[in-house]
Amino acid sequence: MHPRLEEEWDDIVGEYPDARHEMSPERVVVTLEVALDPYNQALTPAAVLVPPGYRSTGPDGFLVPSGFGFSNGDAFPASDATGLGMAGWQAVSFHMIDANGASTWRPTADPRRGDNMIGYLQSIESFIARRCN
């Protein structure tokens, strides 16, 4: 496991009890509860790829299984993730940036004092709750 992720793992599992760590590519997979309206599923797995420079460099985007989307058939802001080594998944366009396009990721040595995986997963939940806006 990535050494910086290892430092956070107990906290991640405390917050997301079903969190799994998988390799090739290295990722954290959790199950998120989503509203049936506007989505076509009440629960979805979500995967965050762990960049090699983590925590100095934050994650970018996340992945959900290919079948996940809006229940009314609207286009879902995602692309096929086969090229990322995640066949059967789609990469959702989600970036932690400010209005000027600059990253808002603020890493620290102590994961509890700066941005971390739990905060990123919570941002994803919030993004999904906002209908991916």
């Binding site: 990535h2 050494p3 910086r4 430092e7 590519p25 290295e26 790829l49 960049p51 090699p52 420079g53 925590r55 100095s56 460099t57 934050g58 970018d60 985007g61 692309s79 090229g83 990322l84 080594g85 990469a91 366009s93 970036h95 940036i97 396009g101 600059a102 990253s103 990721w105 890493p107 620290t108 040595a109 102590d110 004092r113 700066g114």
Partner: protein, 441 residues
């Protein structure tokens, strides 16, 4: 801590043995010395059969103080007169396991180490917190490399006194011999790195680890030191040019080349060098080198040049940066000289980059302007810091910029940031830092 001071105090009673307890901070398999106590004659029981023995009440007092400080300890004693193949004596071999048990009963759950210092080397044994025995290796780090006196060869060992006569007059024999014993990694042997390799070879470095996978292109000829007009035609690698440069200066130099930085061989090779010189053009590579340097306590000299392009026929800004990370000091990220966004893009996979490009979030990577004289100034300045660190010719100036438009040196205030996400979590972690995660192959 001053290792030379410890060594001097330990050898002061020679030919009698000297002894000390080092107070160390344990971090996994790494024991970092924080302070030491050299036992004075009145704290010793005298020499029984030539072996130094620390009085029991003194041992108890010192171990209690170490326990209160939350530290572990390393016992050090000397074997004066031992020149080569320093080893523990039969007496040490018999007594040490018992002494280790005794200390680890006093300092429960903490590792223990033992070192014997000779006049030309050392031997070490360690016991982990769960009391497994393993070798103990000594590494010295600090503001200036304070190699023990026994690591400096005599004049007769140098063999090149005449060749380096002018340098020895400037740097001293010790300084010159230290240079000759270094293994230096040069990462990136383009405009700046090719000059670094050339200068290191002239200075007398004999072991090179060259990390680069580019080939020479025609547009490199105006600034690639040692390049010939035929190199781009022959699709020669930049490493081949650097190797030719070194060979032209020193036939005995050993040169290892490992290809791209992001392969297992390069990442492993970095762990074995005495200095990393980074001459790279991206912050992703700088992040990897910064982590490697902190994890393995290797000094890291980063050299960068930059020219801001202008449309009116001249450049608005021409300059460069010299940044020298000394283990335990501030790193590039502490100095706010590392762009994590850029590093993320540099390190992401091609597929991830393509995806971000498609969505309009990837940065445009321009071809940067370049001028060989700027590379020369920065390479020369960097090599002065190299000499400062390894020979002590002056104090190291770790962070500064050269403004070529104003012909000015501008200092960069850099202090260790306790929350730095690069050097702090990686510090002295060695293999636990898992640098191989950066390998693409």
């Amino acid at each position: 801590m001053d290792f030379l001071g410890l060594e001097r105090a330990l050898f002061a009673p020679a030919p009698a043995e000297g002894a000390a307890f080092l107070r160390v901070e344990a971090d996994g398999s790494v024991l970092r010395m924080r302070s030491y106590h050299v036992f004075q004659p009145h704290e010793l029981d005298g020499e029984a059969y030539g072996h130094v023995t620390i009085r029991e009440d003194v041992q108890i007092r010192e171990l209690a103080a170490i326990k209160r400080a939350g530290c572990a300890t390393v016992e050090v004693h000397t074997h004066p007169g031992t020149q080569h193949a320093v080893s523990f004596s039969h007496y040490d071999d018999e007594q040490l396991p018992m002494f280790a048990r005794y200390v680890q009963n006093k300092l429960r759950g903490r590792p223990f180490g033992a070192l014997v210092l000779g006049e030309s080397g050392y031997a070490g044994r360690g016991w982990t917190a769960d009391r497994n025995e393993e070798p103990l290796e000594l590494a010295l780090v600090g503001e200036r490399l304070t190699l023990p006196e026994w690591s400096v060869p005599a004049a007769s060992d140098l063999g090149h006194a005449e060749l380096f006569d002018r340098q020895i007059r400037a740097l001293g024999l010790d300084g010159q011999s230290r240079i000759g014993r270094l293994n230096v990694a040069v990462v990136g042997v383009g405009g700046t790195g090719s000059q670094i390799v050339q200068q290191l070879a002239h200075l007398g470095v004999q072991r090179f680890t060259l990390i680069e996978d580019d080939r020479v292109e025609r547009s490199n000829l105006p600034r690639l030191a040692g390049a010939r007009w035929s190199d781009p035609m022959l699709r020669r690698s930049k490493v081949a040019v650097a190797r030719r440069t070194v060979r032209g200066i020193s036939r005995s130099a050993k040169i290892r080349s490992t290809g791209t930085l992001r392969c297992t061989e390069s990442l492993k090779a970095l762990q074995e060098v005495d200095l990393i010189v980074g001459c790279v053009d991206n912050d992703g590579a700088r992040l990897i080198l910064g982590e490697a340097a902190a994890a393995y306590l290797i000094p890291y000299l980063d050299l960068g040049v930059g020219i801001e392009e202008q449309t009116h026929g001249f450049a608005a800004q021409i300059g460069g940066r010299i940044a020298f990370y000394v283990p335990g000091g501030p790193c590039l990220a502490c100095a706010d000289e590392l762009d994590f966004d850029e590093a993320r893009e540099d390190l992401e996979s091609e597929a991830a980059h393509a995806l971000r490009l498609e969505r309009g979030y990837a940065r445009d990577r321009r071809i940067e302007p370049a001028l060989m004289p700027l590379n020369t100034v920065i390479a020369g300045s960097g090599m002065m810091e190299f000499l400062a660190y390894f020979t002590g010719v002056r104090a190291v100036r770790p962070f500064y910029r050269f403004d070529a438009v104003r012909s000015a040196i501008v200092g960069i205030n850099a202090e260790i940031q306790a929350d730095c996400p690069v050097c702090q979590p990686a510090y002295a972690r060695g293999p636990r830092q898992q640098l191989e995660r950066y390998a693409l192959s």
